[in-house]
């Protein structure tokens, strides 16, 4: 309670962390990057489509698991009948070979898994990485040594082999998407985040304002929360933005190897697995999930890069917006100009008065 009060107090008085103006400046810098804006719109659309999957498929009148044996040519290996994978008014993106399941429904439901798993994994990676990195950076020699070695061990772990091993021993009843997200985040990503955060913490801890907070008797945890985390926000957010596409690819890879989500739940990676042999006979079966994956990863990467630029003052200086000082000074001038005129105007009568007075 007292700490919360103190936090509120400091928030009010601490001028070094102008939260509102920081977000404002971030948005101003992001806004000027057209590619990042487009990417953000694409990501927003994808998330919306994933969230609204049941609505979208209801609109189409299909679902992702029902078989349509009449729409495929059984004698020819189950290839969809008709051009572009049997695309029609009923099946907007055609049907899946061998089953006749609706491709559009499977794609939008697959987005739920691919995006959900990757975002969840990123969250775990960031929380774990920051906690470990800050603890290592602020702790004593032994804590640093132990935590850094643990991090090194995880960095050197091969993701795919670990995932295969873990998936084999976890009971079948454990929800698969959660498990996949946990595996991706535990065996990759968090450790590099931790290393980066530790290095940043070591750099920050010797700065005067952090030393001051320590010298003034603040506890380590309070110093970490109040003084270090704001300074870590920019690099961590940047890193997280780059982790997301990496995690999407990891989920796809795990599903591609057959250890991702369980059928009949679709995921893009899983669709790619079953589609890889169909690239000649039914190319759209491979191209649709591949395209979805490509667009998502590309949009996430561009957005991540935009976020990085917006948060990095040095990179931002290359943007056309500059620091905003020019405009400020212009505005200042503009604001000063009428005053000056008024002053002049005021001066003139005064002078006149003086003159008049003088004359008088």
């Amino acid at each position: 309670m007292s700490e919360a009060l103190a936090a509120v107090e400091t928030a009010g008085t601490d001028i070094s962390v102008p939260a509102a103006s920081g977000a404002h400046r971030f948005w101003r810098r992001l806004r000027t990057q057209r590619a990042a804006l487009v990417a953000a719109a694409v990501v927003a659309l994808l998330v919306l489509a994933a969230l609204a999957a049941p609505l979208l498929t209801a609109l189409e009148g299909q679902d992702p698991t029902t078989y349509h044996p009449t729409l495929i040519d059984s004698a020819r290996g189950g290839v969809p009948i008709g051009s572009f994978g049997g695309a029609s008014a009923d099946h907007w993106l055609g049907v899946e070979p061998q089953t006749g399941r609706d491709m559009f429904a499977r794609l939008v439901y697959g987005a739920r898994v691919s995006l959900g798993v990757s975002l969840g994994a990123t969250l775990v990676q960031v929380v774990l990485g920051v906690a470990m990195g800050v603890a290592a950076g602020l702790g004593n020699r032994w804590i640093d040594l132990i935590l850094s070695r643990i991090t090194d061990i995880f960095i050197s772990m091969p993701l795919m082999i670990m995932a295969l091993a873990l998936l084999a021993i976890v009971p079948d009843s454990f929800p698969r998407p959660v498990l996949v997200a946990l595996i991706i985040s535990l065996v990759s990503g968090w450790s590099t985040t931790a290393k980066m955060v530790r290095a940043q913490t070591l750099a920050l801890r010797n700065l005067d304002y952090v030393s001051a907070s320590r010298l003034s008797g603040w506890s380590t945890s309070r110093t970490a929360v109040r003084e270090l985390l704001p300074g870590l926000a920019a690099p961590v957010i940047t890193y997280a933005a780059l982790l997301i596409p990496q995690n999407i690819s990891a989920e796809a890879a795990l599903s591609f190897l057959g250890v991702g989500v369980k059928p009949p739940t679709p995921s893009w990676g899983q669709m790619l697995t079953s589609a890889d042999v169909w690239y000649q006979a039914a190319p759209q079966y491979l191209l649709l999930p591949a395209l979805a994956l490509f667009v998502t990863v590309f949009a996430m990467t561009v957005l991540g890069d935009g976020v990085r630029v917006a948060l990095d003052p040095r990179a931002a200086s290359r943007l056309r917006i500059g620091t905003g000082r020019k405009r400020e000074s212009r505005a200042e001038k503009a604001a000063q100009a009428p005053n000056a005129a008024a002053a002049k105007a005021a001066q003139v009568p005064d002078a006149a008065v003086v003159k008049k007075e003088g004359r008088a």
């Binding site: 698991t65 029902t66 078989y67 044996p69 495929i72 040519d73 059984s74 004698a75 020819r76 290996g77 189950g78 290839v79 070979p97 061998q98 089953t99 006749g100 084999a168 079948d172 057959g258 250890v259 369980k262 059928p263 009949p264 079953s274 042999v277 169909w278 690239y279 000649q280 006979a281 039914a282």
Partner: protein
């Protein structure tokens, strides 16, 4: 497979997949025209035949090979007492004499079998082949260091159970007699009317004792067939066979041996094999494969190309994919639940999942749909093409599951289109219509095999498949339904845990028959009787489609192997 040991059963299980791989290699024109393709179809001698395979010819020693009917590549080098008939279709599932003058002369109760060798038989070095060489070849297959063959000989021959092979026990097996250089007599534990089928396996190949180099023999086995091994690299990955001048066509009516050289290249990816065969360029124009068939996607592409479609052969092999129940697990102890599932399944969507109507035929019988197995059509729970969910709901209601039922289907995560997730999800979708909610339990393939073949861990409802070592009802039904073959600790294949005295007695009675046609009929009747118990639900029999190069002629595919027989192929 009479009372095999635990290890023997494991080997047998492995063999099913090996045989499967061999069986997956089917080739030949759709009309089963033995003359082959092209305008000038007369096969001539000469040329080099290239074989593009995924599995290497590992352990190329007749003692160590596990084959059905003597195998395909092995059969070019190793002759056996009997062999499979090299003819298209059903005629190809018959046993015919090879080294012997006939398929064997049994005594009255089929416990003693006598064979006489043909005259003028020679090894590749010109020395004559004697009955002692055949006996020695069988004996060395008992040596622990030369393991790998089928378990039957150890189970069937008198006094063979503990035999350790001629390296340790020079006296040999007294149950194999060689009264003279051309006669060999086998004494069996019990009546085995199907002994002639067993005598097609490579363990019945003559091996000259003076040339035996033990485990090194596989690098240059002494040939009795039309070709000899001139090169064997990386344990059978690259095998070069050349004509054996001491093989005489006069003593061998089965092998044609047209090409001069046969170049077997293995370790290739199946998609690479099919891509090379469809391009058919350079040496690949005279290429075939004996272990790779077309997948559904490849079939879809080939189907759109007339020139390619003309180079696709169709083969059948005795094989059944089915649903297995464990009746000790609830709710599958109730026959009505098992029957409801049998009614609810949609065989057409299962067939599509397995690759479509060209690669799978819907099955209602456990025995493969071939005469040699004793195929007797029956369908105790007619589900029609797409299932009968109404009938299934009715049965479930009677069984007290009127509000629906939730069950778990165990399957393998292997991408084999047999026990794989594709088949499982097709079943899941069909059972949904009957109010049955199916949860899928996918297991890693080894784990899956261990779990389903152990009495202690066997799930209640899972996907299974079975193939026989030879085209007869015996090796198909006995391991799965003979109550005396339930193995408590070890690999068990009687997954329905059926121990019915009338079934066991009938199996014994049929084994006494030496008239294989009469035996086949009774196997068929027994299959129907067991089918009524709904311990298994047959799903489909696979069909194999095989591409071959554009210069390949004289295509023969028997129902025994389902594979293009390379002893018949010509490339000129």
């Amino acid at each position: 497979m009479r009372q095999p040991s635990v290890i023997a059963r494991r080997v047998a299980a492995a063999s099913v997949s090996l045989v499967m791989a061999a069986g997956a290699a089917a080739c030949g024109p759709k009309d089963n025209d033995a003359k082959g393709s092209g305008g000038d179809s007369t096969p001539r001698k000469g040329g080099t035949l290239t074989v593009l395979n995924s599995e290497p010819q590992a352990d190329f020693d007749p003692a160590r090979l596990y084959t059905s009917g003597g195998g395909n590549v092995p059969s070019l080098v190793f002759r056996t007492l009997t062999t499979r008939n090299r003819e298209n279709g059903a005629a190809g599932s018959e046993v015919v004499p090879d080294l012997a003058t006939d398929t064997g002369r049994p005594n009255k109760d089929a416990t003693v079998w006598t064979y006489t060798l043909k005259k003028g038989l020679e090894f590749e070095d010109g020395t004559p082949i004697t009955s002692a060489d055949v006996k020695y070849g069988i004996e060395r297959s008992f040596a622990p260091e030369l393991s790998g063959g089928a378990p039957y000989l150890r189970d069937w021959l008198v006094g063979a159970a503990g035999y350790q092979g001629p390296y340790k026990d020079e006296k040999g097996l007294s149950s194999i007699e060689t009264p003279d250089a051309r006669t060999i007599v086998f004494h069996l534990n019990k009546p085995e009317g199907e002994f002639p089928y067993l005598a097609t396996q490579t363990q019945f190949t003559p091996v000259p004792k003076s040339k035996d180099t033990g485990t090194k023999y596989e690098s240059h086995p002494v040939s009795s067939g039309p070709y000899k091994v001139v090169r064997n690299e990386n344990d059978g990955e690259h095998l070069v066979l050349e004509r054996n001048p001491n093989w005489s066509a006069a003593t061998d009516t089965e092998r044609k041996a047209y090409p001069e050289t046969i170049d077997v290249r293995s370790g290739l990816d199946s998609s690479v094999i099919n891509q090379r065969l469809s391009a058919s360029q350079g040496a690949d124009a005279a290429a075939v494969t004996t272990d790779t068939n077309l997948g559904p996607a490849e079939l879809a592409r080939v189907g759109g190309d007339k020139a390619l479609a003309a180079r696709v052969g169709t083969g059948h092999f005795g094989y059944t994919n089915y649903i297995a129940f464990n009746p000790t697990v609830k709710p599958f102890d109730d026959p009505r639940v098992r029957q409801a599932i049998a009614y609810a399944i949609d065989r057409s969507s299962v067939v599509n999942a397995a690759g479509g109507s060209a690669l799978a035929e819907p099955a209602t019988t456990f025995l493969p749909n071939q005469k040699s197995f004793g195929y007797t059509p029956y369908d105790p729970f007619p589900a029609g093409k797409a299932g009968d969910p109404a009938k299934a709901r009715e049965l479930l209601k009677q069984a007290g599951h009127g509000n629906g039922l939730t069950i778990t289907l165990t399957h393998s995560n292997d991408k084999n289109f047999e026990t794989s997730p594709e088949i499982a999800t097709a079943l899941q979708d069909a059972l949904k219509k009957a109010g049955i909610t199916v949860r899928l339990q996918g297991l890693e393939d080894n784990d899956y095999r261990d779990k389903t073949h152990s009495v202690k861990t066997e799930p209640g409802f899972f996907l299974a498949h079975w193939g026989a070592d030879w085209p007869s009802g015996g090796p198909f039904l006995a391991p799965i339904f003979d109550g005396r073959q339930i193995v408590k600790d070890g690999a068990n294949f009687n997954t329905g845990l059926l121990n019915d005295k009338s079934v066991n007695d009938e199996i014994d009675a049929i084994n006494k028959l030496t008239d294989l046609d009469a035996a086949a009929k009774r196997w068929g009747a027994l299959d129907k009787k067991i089918g009524d118990k709904a311990l298994v639900v047959p799903l489909f029999h696979p069909v194999y489609k095989r591409l071959y190069g554009k210069d390949v002629k004289n295509i023969v595919i028997s129902d025994w192997t389902g594979v293009l027989d390379i002893s018949q192929v010509a490339v000129k």
